[in-house]
Subunit: 164 residues, 2 copies
DNA sequence: AAATTATGCTTTAGGTATAAAGCATCTTGA
DNA sequence: TCAAGATGCTTTATACCTAAAGCATAATTT
């Protein structure tokens, strides 16, 4: 039996009511993101025997028919190089991804989707969209759009603060 | 040298422009959350030799002077029981948390903050707030408040969709 | 009250993440 | 040209997280 909880936890640290708006907003956003992400992971495993990181790699490659280097994937997905190595190897073993040395630089490896990988990703992407639309189904389109717009400000702010 | 990236990645899957608003909003929210969370983890390690999960436990206990059972912590923090066991043991070894058997049910263990733990958490909390306020410093108060309000709708929607 | 089931927690095995070191290749500059 | 450093990736050690099994204690059923 499962040992992990997946119900509404309230905000982490418990429905925080005090403190600056930035902190309250962060805790609420974190809470929402964690719940959604956990459900997505669960469904990927249960229904497709795959993982969110593998899906992320497939999605990145699907957008670039010409392929991507391991480093490109690492940067785009915000995971370590070593991690990309492992995920791509799995996808390669499953026949979803092909890897070949770059012509211009023999250190680089370029990963591309195989036809099988493209088909597989298409199926996953449909399910992924469906799950998200279902979870956010009660949020009015207008609110989603406002969130999307305001999150752009957040994105800009954290980008401006550099990596440190 | 570090091997992990921490700069603006654009949205995951690369600045998605198409698809339903719910999916676009989710990808943007996920991206923002991941960047902020990674930075927080990094700073906790670098500046305080601690981790976000340990901070989360301390924060939960700080709000409840009477203490919490391991199960309560697991539910509130959305992590497995086994994980709580490990984190609490670490905090116990550091002298920040005390654990004793519950009177009413000898299976239960109740964790409480020690005075040392309370002091330690206070220091961490100040830094934590400071980091968040800094990262979100360019987001106007008004936008933060709007995000906070609209995220309540998201929270409600995902809660309504149950755990499945 | 005994047997069964449920609950609270820990342990274990396995997957996944990072950081740091290592290897190969490329680039730079004297 | 060739030494020194930078770059792309992999490997290794370590940490953390989950699921599932296991153990002890409570609650329930008969």
């Amino acid at each position: 039996m499962s040992d992990t909880h997946d119900h509404d936890p309230g905000e982490k640290y418990g429905g925080q009511l005090h403190g600056p708006t930035s902190v309250r907003m962060w805790l609420r956003m974190l809470s929402c993101t964690m719940v959604i992400e956990k459900r997505l992971r669960r469904r990927f495993i249960d229904q497709y025997k795959t993982t969110l990181p593998r899906f992320d790699v497939l999605a990145a490659l699907d957008r670039r028919a010409e392929g991507m280097t391991m480093g490109d994937l690492s940067q785009m997905l915000l995971v370590s190089n070593g991690n990309v190595t492992a995920i791509v190897r799995q996808l390669q073993e499953s026949g979803f991804v092909a890897v070949e040395a770059a012509e211009h630089d023999r250190r680089s490896l370029i990963a591309t989707l195989t036809p099988k990988g493209t088909t597989h990703f298409a199926e996953l992407a449909v399910a992924h969209h469906h799950w998200i639309e279902e979870m956010l189904g009660d949020v009015p389109e207008e609110v989603l759009q406002q969130l999307f717009d305001r999150l752009a400000t957040v994105k800009t702010s954290i980008a401006a603060k550099g990596t440190q």
